[in-house]
């Protein structure tokens, strides 16, 4: 057992809206945010979940926003919301003992593809000097640190869709060891780029569901047909318990344990038994000193691909035989890569606080092969057990699991 860490702030910028409130309402609404995306016109699949009405110039100022790729803007706005909720920065904090760890699946493509266009046109002298820094996987972490004026470690964790939860895993260690007082952790990513979508289409992982775009992303449903790309960012403020107590910070939830595990199986397909996700979850349970029955609900990876959900259903049923209710946020918000892990962690904090498990959008008929209790159609009151699990599984077989409990 490693000791609990306080969650004192959360911030969300998602296809549900800009902010925690709009996102929570969107996931509880049981509808999907997927729509045809003009940015993807002409591609084999042209639907996505986009953040509605996001205006980086208005939220961050033109001077700052112009040198940031959109994904960094999303992360920065989410971080500001999370820190405001936490009541930070506090007057007497030591900026060197505040870290920023933000997961990213890879480089941001928006600015770098424009630079590449100019390179192909033999006009390298017109490439923006911001092209390289804005595309770094660490751009979001370092911009948040800069915005906040902190000087502790600021870096990206990079392991595909597990990146967001891995940031929390690493931060947990840095807080428990006493290296940091505060860690701003999260994930930010946009998969809503033509190059990304073309690549996913070639892998066959995108939903080509014949119905309306809003019906395309169907986690755990018998008619699920693949994932829907999204963009978004989630940020959590984590603090050493002693530090949070000393400054009388409001504690939203407790982060009790984390686990991570690989699989050594396949570059893009999970182990059929979900072996890595199960080990990550068991490692998190051991870290927290919990039994499986302490998990009162699960915010699943729920990517809505045929293979992911079947794998996940198998390992969840095996690992959690008490059948806690399961929800999949991607039904409403789509798949924002590294952003999703952090968004789902923040949604899990909200579910614990509100004692309400959001439904899984588009779950009309549970796959009959799945022995799972998946919340559908409407939010469900949370069970007595105060704990929750959220889990992410990535290309490359990396898995991360995080356990939270009510404050």
């Amino acid at each position: 057992m490693g000791g609990e860490i306080a969650v004192t702030g959360i911030g969300l910028v998602t296809p549900g809206g800009v902010g925690v409130g709009p996102t929570w309402r969107a996931v509880c609404d049981a509808g999907s945010t997927a729509a045809r995306d003009p940015a993807l016109a002409g591609l084999p699949v042209d639907i996505s979940c986009a953040v509605p009405g996001f205006d980086g110039d208005a939220l961050l100022g033109r001077r700052l926003a112009r040198r940031l790729d959109p994904v960094t803007q999303l992360g920065l706005v989410a971080a500001r919301e999370a820190l405001a909720m936490a009541g930070l920065p506090a007057g007497d904090w030591d900026p060197a003992r505040v870290g920023v760890l933000v997961g990213a699946g890879g480089s941001s493509l928006a600015g770098v593809t424009e630079a590449h266009r100019r390179l192909l046109a033999c006009r390298p002298e017109t490439i923006s000097p911001t092209a390289l820094p804005r595309s770094l996987p660490s751009a979001c972490a370092t911009e948040i640190a800069h915005d906040l004026g902190v000087t502790g470690p600021a870096f990206a964790t990079v392991a595909g869709c597990a990146s967001g939860l891995l940031a929390a895993r690493v931060a947990l260690g840095l807080l428990r060891s006493g290296d940091l007082d505060v860690a701003v952790v999260g994930g930010a990513e946009s998969l809503r780029h033509p190059l990304t979508v073309a690549g996913f289409a070639q892998l066959g992982t995108l939903s080509r569901h014949a119905g309306e775009p809003t019906a395309a992303c169907r986690p755990f449903d018998a008619d699920r047909a693949g994932l829907v790309v999204a963009e978004g960012a989630g940020v959590l403020v984590l603090e050493r318990p002693g530090y949070a107590r000393a400054r009388r910070a409001p504690v939203l939830a407790w982060l009790t344990g984390c686990g991570a595990a690989g699989e050594n199986h396949h570059p893009t397909t999970p182990h059929p038994d979900g072996e890595g996700a199960e080990r990550a979850t068991r490692a998190a349970l051991a870290d927290a000193g919990w039994r499986p029955a302490d998990i009162g609900h699960v915010n699943a990876h729920g990517a809505a691909t045929v293979v992911n959900d079947a794998t996940e259903a198998r390992w969840l049923a095996r690992t959690l035989p008490h059948r806690p209710p399961v929800t999949a946020t991607k039904g409403a918000l789509g798949h924002a890569g590294a952003g999703s892990g952090a968004i789902e962690a923040a949604v899990t904090v909200l579910a614990l606080r509100e004692r309400l498990i959001p439904p899984t959008a588009n779950l009309d008929r549970l796959d009959p092969d799945f022995d799972l209790d998946v919340v559908a159609k409407a939010p469900r009151p949370a069970p007595e057990s105060p704990g929750a699990l959220t889990v992410s599984s990535a290309f490359g077989g990396q898995n991360a699991a995080l356990l939270l409990r009510c404050a």
Binding site: R62, R66, R67, R123, E125, T126, S128, P129, P133
Partner: protein
């Protein structure tokens, strides 16, 4: 050329129009080395002109003059 610089500073960099004056230096406008390089790249893209001796302490008027000279010699 001054008009181009002033327009870029207000429209692209979001600087308030009332502080963009011929006597202001780039440092006065709180540009840093990265944003000044970015401005120069945009000017090059729009005009084809390359100037390498404008720095943060140049005034907008002197920078405009420098580009105008580059134009004349091109």
């Amino acid at each position: 050329m001054y008009e181009l610089l002033a327009t870029l500073l207000t429209d692209e960099f979001g600087i308030e129009a009332d502080v963009v004056t011929p006597d202001a230096t780039f440092r006065d406008l709180e540009l840093d080395s990265l944003s000044l390089t970015e401005l120069a790249v945009i000017v090059t893209e729009r005009t084809g002109l390359l100037v390498d001796d404008v720095d943060l302490d140049s005034t907008l008027a002197s920078a405009a003059e420098r580009y105008a000279t580059a134009s004349a010699s091109a």
